[in-house]
């Protein structure tokens, strides 16, 4: 496994991604055959199946890929920053802050913003989710920024505190909510890709691509950071600037995606780790690989979400948890066996 060069991984993952996108476009409560797909793409028309494919299915498949990529890369960044494999992008408060923003909208809705609600229209929820995520992360950052230096341990603790705060806030809103609103909060917290349209898919797509490209730029510095902050400093890395920028990137990637699809956990934790167990902790590999693998896995999860209880929809956050864990355990057990022969994680 370890001897296979990076390029092979990229090619294989790329092909798998293409395959998963095509299959994902086909599968759903309304299955669309491949012939129909090619026909629609070449002859735009107005049949319901075609409109479904072009307006709902396609953007959803792409949104799923972008979200999976963004969350996974985010996970890789956070794990490099904290030098700890159990770190998730939600650790610094972004997901729970976004969830809180969403809860506010569900419960207080128009009464909160008055005239603004009309201008924002369908963007009310994503905007509030984004603000919530951003504020939570900023709070965590400020709390852990002592004398201009970001202390990674304090970052962890501050993240726990802010997460608890946001969860408490969301819990409060759930409590005072009427039953339908409370149910909306629950559904949003489990994540769903059903709201995909070209507009929000475009936004998430652009942000995801931008974020991932920028992350690649920092991959070398993040590698150096694996040796420790002091060592990275000796290698010429400006560690303070790096930490701030990685935090910003993380917020950018996670908050944008979460504000559109809700909270989908576990992806950022598992995907980089699978790659690490398969090949290497080199951050450039992890970032590219996570983007590809995350897009693939989230699409598989979404396919399941659309099919298991069709015509209803199963919450995707539950699937990522159920599907991710066994794969992870399998790899971990295999790694343990290798370890007895002097393999990884000695």
């Amino acid at each position: 496994m370890k001897k296979i060069p990076f390029r092979v991984y990229y090619i294989v993952l790329g092909l798998l991604l293409l395959l998963s996108l095509i299959i994902s476009a086909r599968v759903g409560a309304v299955p669309i055959s491949y012939e129909h797909m090619f026909y629609f793409l070449r002859h735009p028309g107005t049949s319901i199946e075609e409109q479904l494919f072009l307006q709902i299915r396609l953007p959803r498949v792409l949104l799923c890929a972008f979200t999976g990529a963004a969350l996974s890369v985010s996970g890789a960044l956070m794990q490099a920053l904290f030098r700890n494999p159990i770190v998730e992008p939600g650790l610094v408060g972004t997901s729970s802050g976004a969830a809180f923003g969403a809860a506010v909208v569900f419960v207080m809705g128009k009464s909160l913003t008055g005239a603004w609600a009309d201008t924002l229209g369908p963007f009310l929820l994503p905007v509030f989710a984004f603000i919530g995520g951003g504020v939570a992360t900023w709070l965590v950052y400020r709390l852990s920024n002592v004398f201009g230096k970001v202390n990674v341990n304090t970052l962890l603790l501050a993240g726990i505190a802010v997460n608890a705060l946001a969860a408490g806030g969301t819990g409060f809103f759930s409590y005072i909510a009427r039953d339908p609103q409370a149910r909306s909060i629950v559904f949003w917290n489990l994540g769903t890709l059903s709201g995909a349209d070209w507009e929000n898919t475009g936004i998430v797509g652009v942000c995801a691509c931008l974020g991932i490209l920028l992350s690649l730029f920092y991959s070398r510095s993040l590698n150096a950071l694996l040796l420790g902050e002091t060592e990275a400093g000796y290698l010429g890395v400006h560690t303070e600037k790096l930490k701030t920028r990685i935090l910003l990137l993380n917020t950018f990637l996670v908050a944008v995606a979460t504000s559109v699809v809700g909270v989908i956990g576990f992806v950022g934790l598992i995907v980089p780790h699978i790659l690490r167990l398969l090949k290497s902790s080199d951050n450039r590999f992890l970032i590219i690989g996570s983007a590809l693998l995350g897009a693939i896995l989230l699409n598989v999860a979404d396919m399941l979400a659309r099919v298991i209880v069709a015509p209803s929809e199963f919450p995707i956050g539950v699937i990522t948890a159920f599907a991710g864990a066994p794969v992870f355990l399998f790899l971990l057990i295999r790694a343990n066996r290798q370890q007895q022969k002097g393999g990884f994680y000695a």
């Binding site: 370890k2 070398r220 694996l226 060592e231 290698l235 290497s280 902790s281 002097g342 393999g343 990884f344």
Partner: protein, 259 residues
């Protein structure tokens, strides 16, 4: 050439380094010794640029350290500390390649790869190159870190010196590897690198150093060429312990024995 002028390092109101002036020429192994809390590690940190002094100047070839860009500094100054804790698996060659990071922007050039190869064979760790760092023994790991530091300063720039600082690099190693590492450091002397180490073990220092600097309570007590500089009264003054110097029939370096 590394020159220190009136260096003062303080944390809050506590003075750790109190007015030190020294110079270090390339081509000799300089070793700084002193009891715990004497400020020797802080000194090294000030030399390497990690610690910004409260007062005084550190100059590299007559250029003040504060005026040197962090990346350019990394191209000619390497530091080796006690083994850093690594939590993720990385191969040996990936770690050695990190030494070349200050030298390339996106991808390593063939030159970088060649240098890594040379460094690894110089330290006899070529067979380990594909191995996972976490599976190595302490001695092997230290050699890998040494290789990384060497890779950082392997190329000799035209007009400036290269600097290698070793901050207690052998404390966690067993005797065989302690000597192995110090010998490797000693071998660099002919490369005209400014070589400064901080050591705990006086005998080890005596055995390999060209020059020793004795530090106590943030001040230089004495410094000079080995073995002349070391006397029992100096050891008593600095370390507060009685010692004797025994002659070794097979070498002109004495052995320190403690009472």
């Amino acid at each position: 050439m590394l020159e220190i002028q009136g260096l003062v390092c303080k944390i809050g109101s506590k003075t750790i380094v109190d007015g030190v002036s020294l110079s270090f020429d390339p081509g000799r192994l300089h070793v700084i010794v002193g009891p715990n809390g004497s400020g020797k590690s802080t000194l090294l940190k000030a030399f390497s640029g990690e610690w910004v002094p409260t007062a005084g100047a550190v100059t590299y070839d007559s250029v003040n350290l504060t005026r040197i860009d962090k990346l350019h500094l990394a191209r000619r100054r390497a530091v080796m500390t006690q083994l850093p804790e690594l939590h993720f698996p990385l191969s040996v060659e990936e770690i050695v390649m990190m030494g070349r990071y200050p030298h390339f922007s996106f991808s390593p050039t063939p030159n970088d790869r060649a240098i890594c190869g040379q460094v690894m064979s110089h330290l006899s760790i070529q067979p380990l190159s594909g191995r996972d760092y976490l599976t190595l023994s302490g001695g092997e790991r230290q050699r890998v870190q040494f290789a990384r530091a060497l890779a950082q300063i392997w190329e000799a720039p035209a007009s400036t010196s290269r600097y290698l600082f070793l901050d207690e690099p052998v404390s966690s190693l067993d005797i065989h590897y302690q000597h192995q590492l110090m010998q490797l450091a000693r071998d660099l002397v002919k490369e005209k690198i400014v070589l400064i180490a901080v050591l705990h073990d006086l005998n080890l220092a005596l055995h390999y150093a060209d020059r020793m600097i004795f530090v106590k309570q943030g001040r230089i007590v004495a410094e000079g060429a080995v073995p002349g500089i070391v006397t029992p009264s100096l050891i008593r003054e600095v370390f507060d312990i009685e010692a004797r110097l025994l002659e070794d029939p097979q070498s002109d370096i004495p052995v320190i024995v403690y009472a």
